[in-house]
């Protein structure tokens, strides 16, 4: 089954898209969706991005101003999925100027010790 890959989801508060050429998933804006069901389209983009390993994926969160705990759950689930697949390397890029990233992203490394976290 070769459906058209969903490469972007957005609304007025956020935009998530997969740059397939450079193997980067970007998240921008504020993500405060109501739970796993509402986050499903974003989960789908993330899971598709690592569907064909070996792959080195960058998750660029430098424009993600806000993420609620359901969103943290969604990212954590994705990282656990990535950990369970052979041949997937993940680099997460964050911004020092966005305080939640310094507080919460380090937990992803605990879930996937090989994950590279770059906060600049």
């Amino acid at each position: 089954m070769d459906n058209q890959e969903m490469l972007e989801v957005k609304d007025e508060d956020y935009r998530v898209w997969h740059d397939t050429n450079n193997r980067v998933v970007f998240c921008e804006g504020s993500l405060r969706l109501g739970g796993a069901e509402e986050y499903a389209p974003i989960t789908q983009i993330l899971e598709q991005s690592i569907a064909h390993p070996p792959i080195e994926l960058t998750l660029d969160l430098m424009g993600l101003e806000f993420l609620n705990s359901s969103g943290i759950n969604m990212l954590s689930k994705f990282v656990i999925k990535a950990r369970q697949k052979a041949g997937v390397k993940i680099t997460v890029k964050g911004s020092e100027a966005i305080p939640w990233q310094g507080k919460s992203l380090k937990n992803l490394q605990r879930l996937m010790p090989s994950l590279v976290l770059e906060i600049s």
Binding site: R32, G34, A36, F66, K81, K103, S104
Partner: protein, 188 residues
């Protein structure tokens, strides 16, 4: 007698800056008012920065982020778990003290949900919060249909070093409904 779990200050002094927002849960379906959580949380955050003149941009950004994150989580919980059709209000207050912020949210909860919440809080209060957080994340990853991540309180404790407390108080006129108040304290 109200029941208290965790650290809960019964009488908050009123001689401080505080802001109180109220919501009537029956007036709009939850989907339509969801966006209000973020707007209200951001408003509380922006408003509070007024009281920190001369602080660095980084410190102000940190204060805004902390207030916005915690207020948003409290409002999301209140909207998700409030008993419908009981005509009891939902509220969130933010009090500024010299050394800390105190958030207080209150909402009506049906008895069945109260039991579940109490069990969860007891688990939270008797566990290592970081180990419990990792354990919940691993467990959630195996449960595709889980709609309640249970991570809001744990992220407040682990990532924001918050102290949490709860008060459960039965309404006199509606004995099957309980007013659940959640207090979150964060040092400045």
């Amino acid at each position: 007698m109200p029941e208290i779990l965790g650290e809960f200050l019964e009488d908050l002094p009123h001689n401080t800056e505080f802001l109180l927002l109220g919501f009537s849960p029956g007036s709009l379906p939850i989907q339509q008012r969801w966006r209000n959580n973020g707007l209200s949380a951001d408003f509380l955050a922006d408003y509070m920065t007024t009281f920190f003149p001369g602080e660095s941009r980084a410190k102000l950004a940190d204060i805004k982020n902390t207030v916005s994150y915690i207020a948003n989580e409290l409002l999301e919980n209140a909207m998700k778990y409030s008993a419908g059709d009981c005509h009891k209000p939902i509220s969130i207050g933010l009090h500024l003290f010299d050394d800390r912020f105190v958030f207080l949210s209150s909402n009506p909860v049906a008895q069945a949900s109260v039991d579940r919440l109490e069990n969860y809080i007891k688990e939270l209060l008797t566990s290592d919060p970081y180990e419990l957080y990792i354990q919940k994340l691993e467990a959630n990853s195996e449960n595709e249909t889980n709609t309640h991540s249970g991570l809001g309180y744990l992220t407040m404790i682990n990532d924001y070093h918050a102290t949490l407390g709860w008060r459960f108080r039965r309404y006199d006129d509606q004995p099957t409904i309980v007013e659940v108040s959640t207090m979150v304290q964060v040092s400045l």
